[in-house]
């Protein structure tokens, strides 16, 4: 057994302190230690984007980070995206309205990639949206409705 390390971090506004193994992936930490299972794991090596979360406001792949690297950081996962319980973030509402999700497995990753990006690109073109999402895979939708959802959300935001 390797030594464990103490980390403290904020996730969705809540502070946590945990003893963790140095090799524990951030994605596994969120899913198994904190039971935040909205962050999905589709490939485990940075290809699919399903595990995307925000670390200090920046979209990162949580399967490519160790939990200890998030020590002292502020994290946001899909569970913390909506402004309140029973409410949806404009992106979430748009994804529903525009039929931008089917199985929904890829959706949290798309939303978390988009959240900071849309704030910086309030009037995106189709082209820009596609470029921003080129690292997120979806096997169900064919992507066209995802582009529409982003434009819809841009109007609401």
């Amino acid at each position: 057994m390797s030594e464990t390390m103490m980390i403290s971090l904020t996730v969705n506004g809540q502070r946590y302190q945990r003893q963790v193994e140095p090799r524990l992936l951030l994605s596994d930490f969120l899913r198994h230690e904190l039971d935040l299972t909205g962050t999905h794991v589709g490939c485990e090596h940075g290809v699919c984007g399903a595990c995307t979360i925000l670390v200090d406001g920046v979209a990162v792949r949580s399967c490519l980070m160790f939990a200890v690297q998030a020590d002292g950081c502020e994290l946001l996962t899909v569970e913390g995206l909506a402004p309140g319980p029973e409410q949806l973030h404009p992106l979430q509402a748009a994804f529903r309205q525009a039929h931008a999700l089917q199985c929904g497995f890829c959706t949290p990753g798309f939303l978390m990639t988009l959240a900071p990006w849309l704030a910086q690109h309030p009037n995106p073109t189709d082209e820009e949206i596609r470029l921003a999402l080129s690292g997120n895979l979806c096997r169900c939708t064919g992507y066209q409705h995802i582009v529409e959802a982003v434009k819809m959300a841009a109007e609401i935001c």
């Binding site: 589709g42 290809v47 979430q92 994804f95 199985c103 959706t107 470029l131 080129s134 895979l137 096997r139």
Partner: protein
């Protein structure tokens, strides 16, 4: 009563939900990250499982020693074939797939399991695998289906390597080719491909206090899982309960057993809940794939373009075990003359066992492969005859009154010509009258654009004489809620939303008053497999019948209670209207109960009977049809292909939810695009190179063309509101539409999938440069 109800009552013409854009029932939860997929479930005391898989492609096991693994701290069980209490093999069609390979038995592919471990942590379970000692004797490898049929090839199964020889016979081939003015013959190859659903497989088995076993899993066929797991445990079916979970995609890849039996065996042995999660590597290695094929087509036509004869010979790589190969390759074979009428047809297919991963169901179910071959041929035929490729298809297209190559007279619901015409006019509206000519991109002379066209058809339902039925139950509760229950699977395709619409429609109730329970073998009756584009049709019909049966029951009781003729009783906005009384549905449920009736209806729906292949008559009760056109741009320096526009028309009988249908079409088109351009599950002598997602390229968002979706409605009289299947047909014409466009742009004929883009650059002489 609110105004809407008053209006509805006054007009007696309630609004129909059918054909309206309805957002997905489960979308808010999914968007909020609240949906629990199997891997998100954590049971108290749960152990973690790991599987020792064969590192060899083909070998005989001499010895397995698990004693050191058993002694490792944290390990609760290490099981081998000798520990299986019940049946040792599983399989949906033929049970030839060993759950564990025992000593003296044969490993037939790299995914074969030799031992399974349950431990306190995943790390411990994995560490235990390293301590298992295996001695085996390597055997010669059969890497492709043509090799498998050679006489000197080793036999992989008791009855040899031929899983099935499938035959289609119509007319007289000698006469057919004698009548032809032009005969073409070509051979095509398609690659092994993977579903790459985004959620890898996971099973959790939980022993219960009363001696049963609950199985949490994402499965396309919950009742088949229950049966196969129970057999392995040596139990009656009812002792196992499959609690199906929402799936992160399936596409045919979650029909076979993948981990369910292993998790159940370990739970039975330890008395603890056991979670078995595949990582992407294991998912890619282990589960069944789309069949690689070799397809030879010989086609004869008269000068006017009418087909006189189509002869095909197909080899399908079934891989190590049968899975659904028999059915998939049958569909590839029966559809191998395309959606065209030909007086003389003959097809021979050899589904062969090899040492590759098993092949099974994958959206398109074999028709994807044969459509590529036949649509490429049709295009070349058109070119050589000097006939417009769309016109050539029109002249031969199946229509009402046509007889298919299996001898089925089509008597209704054949919208192929309309699909062809709609796509054609949209294409010409955009591209002018010569869409198939190569055009250099203005200002970028090394880029060339052109259009390509393809058509297809695909059966709805199991067909071929298989009984195709679904049970469904609809119940009305005293709080006014309506609930539909059926075991059919929600993979993301939107089945629950369609079922919700059907119940709401029949009771004229608001959508949010209807809930749908699926995939639980204790709580929901058997809806049959989610395969063959059958759910909207078969399960839709079952739910429709259950809803109508329940409604009739309500009407009878209300008629008696209020002394009104049944014809005067109406349902509007969640209310029953009788003789000027209005009663909310919840109250009606209470009335039913007080009169001693149960406000519930369980039905078993049987789809129209079909005939086995070779018997003639209706091999399938319905077909869906499609035409697509693709505009592509080739970079002639690099060979890189970009699909710019894709126009898709699909005859689905009747559009139930246009929003859901759009999603199916667009997702299907992208899968066809991947199949054409990037997807290749690469195997080298049975060893997968594509063992991680970075080595298996599914299309990303930058590859999406503009997708223009056109709906065509030629109702099927036996479908729910006229609807037919849609899940697969939308994906089938995409690949040949793209490859035909590449040929038009570059002059290079594509005979192998996926397209070798470098080869296009090398061979793409002349045109447009």
């Amino acid at each position: 009563m609110n105004d809407a109800v008053k209006d509805a009552v006054k007009n007696r013409q309630p609004a129909s939900l059918i054909g309206q854009r309805i957002t997905k029932l489960d979308a808010p939860e999914k968007a909020a990250g609240k949906t629990r997929y199997v891997h998100d479930i954590h049971l108290p005391g749960q152990l973690h499982a790991a599987i020792l898989r064969s590192a060899h492609v083909h070998a005989v096991i001499k010895r397995i020693d698990v004693s050191r693994a058993r002694a490792l701290p944290g390990v609760h069980a290490v099981l081998t074939a000798a520990d299986i209490p019940g049946e040792h093999t599983h399989g949906i069609v033929i049970p030839d797939w060993p759950s564990l390979i025992g000593v003296g038995e044969r490993v037939r592919y790299v995914g074969d399991a030799l031992a399974i471990v349950a431990a306190e942590t995943r790390e411990q379970a994995t560490a235990a695998l390293d301590l298992i000692e295996v001695a085996l004797e390597p055997q010669p490898v059969i890497a492709d289906p043509v090799q498998a049929r050679q006489i000197d090839s080793p036999s992989l199964h008791e009855n040899g390597n031929l899983l099935k020889h499938i035959k289609v016979r119509k007319g007289d081939m000698a006469q057919g080719f004698a009548e032809a003015d032009l005969i073409l013959e070509r051979t095509f190859h398609t690659a092994t491909t993977d579903h790459a659903f985004l959620e890898p497989e996971c099973s959790i088995a939980q022993p219960t206090a009363d001696g049963r076993l609950y199985l949490y899993v994402g499965s396309q066929i919950p009742y088949a899982d229950r049966n196969q797991v129970a057999r392995a445990l040596g139990w009656p079916d009812e002792r196992v309960r499959v609690v199906g979970q929402l799936m992160g995609g399936g596409f045919g890849g979650k029909e076979d057993i993948a981990g369910q039996i292993h998790a159940a065996l370990l739970a039975q042995a330890t008395g603890r809940p056991v979670k078995l999660l595949y990582d992407r590597h294991e998912s890619l290695i282990a589960h069944p794939k789309r069949h690689a094929t070799q397809i030879r087509v010989k086609m004869g036509a008269r000068r006017d373009g009418r087909l006189t004869a189509v002869q095909t010979e197909l080899y399908g790589d079934a891989g190590a075990y049968a899975s659904l190969s028999d059915k998939v390759m049958t569909r590839a074979t029966t559809h191998s003359a395309g959606p065209y009428e030909t007086p003389h047809a003959r097809a021979d297919c050899y589904a062969m066992y090899t040492n590759n991963p098993p092949s099974g169901a994958f959206r398109g179910f074999g028709v994807t492969q044969s459509a590529f071959a036949v649509e490429s041929m049709i295009d070349e035929l058109a070119e050589q005859l000097g006939i417009d490729p769309v016109e050539l298809r029109r002249r031969n297209a199946l229509r009402v009154g046509s007889v298919t190559n299996t001898g089925q007279l089509l008597h209704e619901s054949v919208g192929l010509l309309e699909c062809i015409d709609r796509v054609d006019s949209e294409m010409r509206r955009r591209a002018g009258n010569d869409p198939f000519r190569a055009r250099p991109t203005p200002g970028q002379e090394h880029r060339v654009r052109a259009w390509g066209f393809a058509a297809a058809y695909k059966n709805t339902g199991l067909g071929g004489g298989a009984p195709d039925r679904a049970q469904a139950e609809v119940e009305l509760y005293e709080d006014g809620a309506l609930e539909a229950r059926v075991s059919s699977a929600e993979l993301g395709q939107g089945l629950v939303t369609v079922l919700q619409m059907i119940v709401a429609e029949e009771f004229q109730a608001p959508l949010d008053q209807v809930r749908v329970l699926v995939m639980d073998t204790d709580l929901t009756p058997d809806g049959g497999p989610t395969t063959a584009s059958r759910q909207t049709f078969v399960t839709g019909n079952a739910v429709l019948q259950a809803a109508r049966t329940l409604r009739e029951g309500l009407v009878r009781v209300l008629a008696e209670r209020f002394d009104a003729p049944p014809s005067q009783i109406r349902f509007v906005e969640g209310l029953a209207l009788v003789n000027g009384h209005t009663a909310p549905l919840g109250e009606v449920a209470a009335i039913m109960k007080s009169e001693g009736h149960s406000p519930r209806a369980l039905v078993e729906y049987w789809a129209p009977a079909t005939q086995p292949l070779g018997a003639g008559g209706d091999m399938h009760f319905a077909y869906s049809f499609a035409a697509q056109a693709a505009e592509i741009e080739v970079n002639t320096r690099t060979g890189e292909v970009q699909v710019l526009t894709l126009i898709a028309a699909t005859d689905v009988g009747k559009v139930l939810n246009p929003l859901g249908l759009l999603g199916q079409v667009e997702g299907g088109v992208m899968m066809g695009l991947g199949n054409a351009l990037t997807e290749h599950f690469i195997l080298e002598q049975g060893v997968p190179f594509s063992d991680r997602l970075a080595r298996y390229r599914i299309p990303n968002i930058t590859q999406t063309p503009e997708i223009v979706v056109l709906h065509v409605e030629h109702p099927a009289s036996t479908g729910p509101y006229g609807a037919k299947g849609v899940g697969e047909i939308v994906s089938i014409p995409t690949t040949p539409a793209i490859t035909n466009a590449i040929t038009h742009a570059t002059g290079v004929r594509i005979t192998r999938l996926p397209v070798d883009q470098e080869e296009i650059a090398l061979r793409g002489e002349g045109r447009g440069r």
